[in-house]
């Protein structure tokens, strides 16, 4: 188990206060309050439709919340475009369906945003991209196109692409749900390594083994609410809420 010492000492990097979100008339997120500290790793789980993906997509404003506050790295998320750009530079995101750019090579996928958004010189961006591709163990694929890689490799490229922006926070939206069983491990290994390097991570996943191993705390959501937030030990061994027990029995006992 990975431990994190500076947990409670520092100021939260993400602070969500009484946040609500609606899709039309449908109330998807209800009164969400959440604090994430620097270097903290949080796993969010829950049945499908519980709003867990929507929650992390609100943090970099891929979804817009209607009520309450979200403060990321001391910047408040609002309609202000300048704030939005600043936050997106700090927050990386990995998607379930990878979302690599199919018309660009792996290397170009990794260097596009650093060059144009951060203004890095091309050479520097390429060096950094190669370094990160080496970290996710696929430097030899740099000149191939995404379509030529396996799912696991694509997801590792997607992780490297996000890291090229040198984010302070990484969001993972079910990163292994679209993968074949044989490839899940290589992506989880990459994420574990990232966790060990001290990255602040919010991970939506059903991989309970991963949660046990790296999470500082686990959030269980249902019907748009945070039902329970606990450390992994308590969460798995004696969950407080009946709904959590039911969920755990359903995903662990088969």
């Amino acid at each position: 188990m990975v431990t994190n010492k500076k947990n409670n000492s520092s100021k939260p990097v993400i602070e969500i206060k009484e946040m609500h979100k609606w899709f039309g008339n449908f109330h998807v997120l209800k009164n969400i309050t959440l604090k994430v500290n620097q270097g903290e790793r949080i796993v969010i789980c829950g049945p499908s439709g519980s709003g867990k993906s929507t929650l992390i997509r609100c943090i970099n404003r891929l979804e817009v919340h209607q009520q309450g506050d979200i403060i990321v790295n001391d910047i408040e998320l609002s309609g202000d475009l300048k704030n939005l750009e600043a936050i997106r530079r700090e927050v990386g995101m990995v998607f379930q369906s990878f979302n690599l750019f199919p018309h660009l090579s792996v290397l170009e996928n990794c260097t596009l945003a650093p060059i144009w958004v951060r203004g890095l010189p091309k050479k520097e961006a390429e060096e950094m991209a190669m370094e990160l591709l080496t970290k996710v163990k696929i430097p030899e694929q740099a000149l191939k196109f995404p379509g030529q890689l396996s799912g696991g490799q694509q997801q590792r490229v997607a992780i490297a692409r996000s890291l090229c922006m040198e984010p302070k926070i990484m969001l993972f939206d079910e990163p292994t749900s679209a993968l074949d069983p044989e490839m899940i491990k290589e992506v989880l290994d990459t994420m574990i390594e990232l966790a060990e390097s001290g990255m602040t991570m919010l991970v939506v996943t059903h991989e309970m083994g991963f949660a046990k191993k790296v999470a500082d705390s686990i959030i269980f959501m249902d019907e748009g609410e945070i039902i329970e937030q606990n450390n992994p030990k308590t969460f798995f061994n004696n969950p407080e809420n009946e709904r959590t027990k039911l969920f755990l029995s359903q995903i662990l006992n088969h």
């Binding site: 990386g92 369906s97 750019f101 596009l112 945003a113 379509g147 692409r161």
Partner: protein, 369 residues
């Protein structure tokens, strides 16, 4: 025991059964797979033989390539009388452009080749330098064709005609309508209501009106809409109309391409902090254009062939030159030869465009499925 000795993956790759691959296999499965198919194959070959024999005879073997009139042609041989073309080939190419100045058009044609090459083939050597030439080419071509500068004799527009006219209208229309079409497609998808409304109105109006109407407007009415004192030449007005017309269609084709891009692409670009214009330039358009290539080229081919419509406002494109030739009593009645020749010219140009688009699609294909 045998089972323990067997190593997975050691089973040899065997050759396919005899007679299923190669020339023999192909012939058997495609031409002679059954009795009825074999009979059909033989019947088709006999039919093809007579057809090709007749065509070659009429087109080449029995054809007359030089004579003074149709009557002389018929005296010499029974096939096609290509003399109507060979005697007037200058008119078919240059229209009524003065003989002494036709070298200017030749330079424009050769220049077009060098100006379009770097735009069409991204891997060309010295592309950077040739692109500079492509940038200046429209001005060079304009001065050469029009004259009136640098001691070149000014040529009246009503002397333009033939393939030269087709190329001027077709190429200008194609080059101008693509950027306008892209802008309209983006405008139609815009979140800004005013931009979107203007784009939608423009596209729907242009698509809802026959091109021929627009050409009549260009020939008679456009000057009323312009501030007094401006007087565009008829050719510029026609090119503007072709550009607007094609741009509206291209905008719709590209909009289809943009809408085919998965939402995740935008989300990925947004989460990397890219702005709308960066996303459009690096993510949306490259993918949308690639998907839209067949539709865009389709529109271009349509525009190119529609240039024959300028005949209705008195400009003499190859078809018009052909009709003028047929009106001549010497060549009366040779419409088959004349129209076939014009058709051949259009076919060669359009077929080239179609092959180029296939090549480009293949080149840009990074799916590797």
């Amino acid at each position: 025991m045998i089972k323990e000795l067997y190593k997975p993956g050691s089973y040899p790759n065997l050759a396919p059964p005899k007679g299923t691959v190669g020339f023999y296999g192909w012939t058997k499965s495609n031409l002679f797979s059954s009795l009825s198919n074999s009979l059909l194959t033989i019947f088709s070959f006999i039919l093809l033989y007579f057809l090709i024999d007749g065509i070659i005879g009429w087109f080449f073997l029995d054809a007359v390539f030089d004579a003074d009139s149709k009557i002389e042609c018929r005296k010499i041989d029974s096939g096609a009388c290509w003399a109507v073309i060979t005697r007037r080939v200058g008119q078919f190419i240059y229209g009524f452009y003065p003989d002494a100045e036709r070298w200017r058009i030749d330079i424009v044609f050769i220049g077009l080749f060098f100006a379009s090459a770097p735009l069409l083939y991204p891997d060309l050597p010295l592309r950077r330098w040739l692109l500079w030439f492509s940038g200046f080419y429209p001005f060079i071509a304009f001065i050469l064709i029009n004259g009136g500068l640098f001691g070149l004799v000014s040529i009246e527009i009503n002397l333009f005609g033939g393939f030269m006219l087709t190329l001027i209208i077709g190429v200008s229309g194609i080059v101008c309508s693509l950027p306008l079409g892209i802008m309209l497609a983006l405008g139609r998808q815009s979140k800004l209501t005013v931009v979107r409304s203007i784009s939608v109105c423009f596209i729907e109006f242009m698509r809802g009106v026959p091109l021929i109407t627009l050409l009549f407007v260009a020939s008679s009415m456009l000057n009323y809409f312009m501030p007094p004192g401006t007087n565009f030449s008829i050719l510029v007005r026609v090119i503007i109309m072709f550009t607007f017309f094609a741009a509206a269609y291209i905008a719709e084709v590209i909009r289809g391409g943009i809408q085919a891009i998965p939402k995740g692409q935008y989300e990925a670009a947004e989460s990397l902090g890219m702005t709308y214009w960066q996303t459009t330039r690096f993510i949306t358009l490259p993918q949308a254009m690639k998907i839209s290539i067949p539709g865009i080229v389709n529109t271009f081919i349509g525009l190119y062939k529609d240039t024959t419509l300028v005949i209705v406002i008195g400009l003499l494109d190859p078809l018009g030159i052909g009709r003028a030739a047929l009106a001549d009593t010497k060549w009366n009645g040779l419409s088959t030869e004349t129209y076939l020749f014009v058709a051949l010219f259009f076919f060669v140009s359009c077929f080239a465009m179609s092959r180029y688009s296939l090549w480009l699609e293949n080149k840009l294909n990074t799916d590797h499925r």
